[in-house]
């Protein structure tokens, strides 16, 4: 994990140097006064040799200093701290939606394979994977915020009510993936001999499914769930834009529009590091759920 994190830090550090031409001129804008350009160059440390810039970037990060916003002149960490909970709330909301849909649907279609309900679940999974969130979101807004005013069109002011439509928007794709995963995984386990043995020894079918087979079927599902949590963070960039949700993703796009590069770099860094952390935790979790992996 440490080499990967260092790699990511280097990648994010080099972003500002990829700006075509002189980054300071580009950031200040065409026709900016030379002293403004010089100020920007100095504040970004662009007047220093590259290796010094890199060392100071890493040491500042180690101290928790992510830089200052060009727009507000405030610490970018402060703004990120204010926005982070909103993105997390959205990610957890979507995960909840996905689990609530995928578990019943996946289990039922694994038990009743090739029945009409299985076909419905498979069709749902296909639609869920192909439907872009930036289309599904507006459709939900038209149906449930404009035609029927059950939920707010955008924002986060109305608490849980505001969370419903963005969570469904982001949770749909995950629900589709999980449904497929649970179906395949559980169907696989149901065909195993230990399930037949349990039933032959008098265990009820429901108990054989939920206590024996489902437990084993959950192993790959947990991995997918944890891996997908990372993708929820990037999915949030689009969903937050659709619903004007005041999270990290929206902050990133706003900072790109205003060319607030320290804020852009810091937002990308925080999203990427969270993504790596989640994947790392999912690896640990995997070992706990399936002790055979730890033995290997």
């Amino acid at each position: 994990m440490i080499p990967i994190t260092l790699g990511i830090l280097t990648l994010i550090f080099s972003l500002i140097h990829l700006i075509p031409g002189d980054p300071a001129v580009q950031i200040a804008g065409e026709g900016a006064r030379p002293e403004d350009v010089a100020n920007i160059r100095k504040s970004l440390g662009l007047d220093q040799p590259l290796w010094k810039q890199y060392v100071s970037y890493i040491t500042s990060l180690a101290r928790g200093d992510l830089g200052r916003s060009f727009r507000t002149n405030e610490s970018v960490a402060k703004e990120i701290g204010a926005r982070y909970p909103a993105t997390m709330q959205l990610a957890f909301g979507s995960m909840l939606v996905a689990l609530m849909v995928a578990f019943p649907l996946g289990i039922i279609s694994a038990i009743y394979r090739n029945s009409w309900i299985d076909n419905v679940a498979r069709f749902f999974a296909l639609i869920g994977v192909s439907m872009p969130s930036f289309w599904f979101g507006p459709l939900l807004i038209i149906a449930f915020a404009i035609n029927r005013q059950w939920f707010p069109v955008s924002g986060r002011e109305e608490g849980l009510k505001s969370l419903v439509l963005p969570s469904i928007t982001m949770g749909l794709a995950l629900a589709a993936i999980l449904t497929r995963m649970i179906r395949v995984s559980l169907a696989d386990e149901l065909g195993q001999l230990y399930v037949t043995t349990a039933i032959a020894k008098g265990v009820s079918r429901a108990k054989a499914i939920f206590r024996h087979a489902l437990k084993n079927a959950l192993i790959p599902v947990i991995t997918i769930l944890a891996l997908q949590f990372g993708s929820l963070l990037t999915g949030a960039i689009i969903t937050e834009q659709i619903f004007s949700w005041p999270g990290l993703g929206r902050l990133l796009i706003q900072s790109i529009t205003t060319r607030d590069y320290p804020q852009v770099q810091a937002s990308i860094l925080v999203i990427a590091l969270t993504y790596i952390m989640v994947n790392f935790i999912s690896d640990l979790l995997y070992g706990i759920v399936d002790p055979r992996i730890k033995l290997q």
Partner: protein, 275 residues
């Protein structure tokens, strides 16, 4: 081919993809109006006989813009998949065939890029390079080649131990000749499947970047940016959001069907490789 056409997913996907390609190629002939001609007096007009999908916020014909938007989507899709597969196949086969230091470097770069969410990297690159069609292609290539490199490396590792490769080497063939004439033809099928499956993803990513305002710039019609405009007029002119979104979904679904059908028809074991 007969076996392929009996596969429902493949046939449906092929039909949808053919329609998409036809619309993109024949857009100037099919489009009922010029996609960029504005009539501000009739902005946001609902669908009618003259304008089957209505008019947008600047009074431009939505149907014509969707037809021309298909060109942008396919241009980005094909360019990214072609460039990414060329880079990925080249680096993947070098890493797999020669092993050692080359393998170490290529695989570590892959690890770093894979640990970074793809769309985030694309957003970051477009943010610093500036939004334009070429920069979108570049950003998506940077994130997409990794998948091909890993796939090809794994395949080359297997194929390079085959007897026909040893035979070619024993007969004095140089490494580039062995790779191009003996190794690549035997690993190309999964690459084709991955490219077909990847096309839908690239079109979706382009639409997402355009939706965020980081893609193709106005007035060029792109499905993603049409949706952004549509979002502003939800409730007033829902057709602006509904139709471009439907176009994206049909195109992506068609390509996914085609890729899925191709996997089942060619060799179901590829499904494992694509993960």
């Amino acid at each position: 081919m007969k076996r392929l056409l009996r596969n429902f997913a493949f046939t449906a996907g092929l039909l949808l993809t053919l329609v998409l390609v036809f619309v993109a190629l024949a857009a100037p002939l099919l489009a009922p109006h010029d996609p960029n001609v504005q009539d501000t007096s009739r902005r946001l007009e609902a669908p009618s006989k003259a304008h089957p999908l209505g008019l947008d916020d600047l009074g431009r014909d939505v149907l014509s813009r969707i037809f021309f938007g298909a060109r942008v989507s396919l241009r980005v899709g094909f360019s990214v998949v072609l460039l990414a597969s060329i880079i990925g196949v080249t680096l993947g086969s070098i890493a797999g065939y020669f092993g050692g230091f080359a393998d170490l470097i290529v695989m570590r770069i892959c690890d770093i890029l894979l640990s970074f969410p793809g769309i985030l990297l694309a957003i970051a690159l477009v943010a610093v390079l500036g939004p334009s069609l070429n920069n979108v292609i570049l950003a998506l290539v940077v994130t997409a080649w990794v998948g091909y490199a890993r796939l090809v490396r794994g395949q080359v590792l297997k194929v390079r131990e085959m007897e026909y490769v040893t035979a070619a080497k024993a007969m004095g063939a140089r490494s580039p000749r062995v790779i191009i004439l003996h190794v690549l033809p035997n690993i190309i099928n999964p690459v084709i499947v991955m490219a077909t499956l990847g096309l839908g993803g690239v079109i979706l990513a382009e639409a997402a970047l355009s939706f965020l305002g980081l893609g193709v710039q106005p007035p060029t019609p792109s499905w993603g940016s049409m949706l952004t405009a549509g979002r502003r007029y939800l409730g007033l002119a829902n057709h602006l959001a509904i139709f471009p979104g439907a176009a994206i979904m049909l195109a992506v679904m068609g390509l996914n069907f085609l890729g899925d059908g191709l996997i089942d028809a060619l060799d179901p074991k590829y499904r494992k490789l694509m993960r």
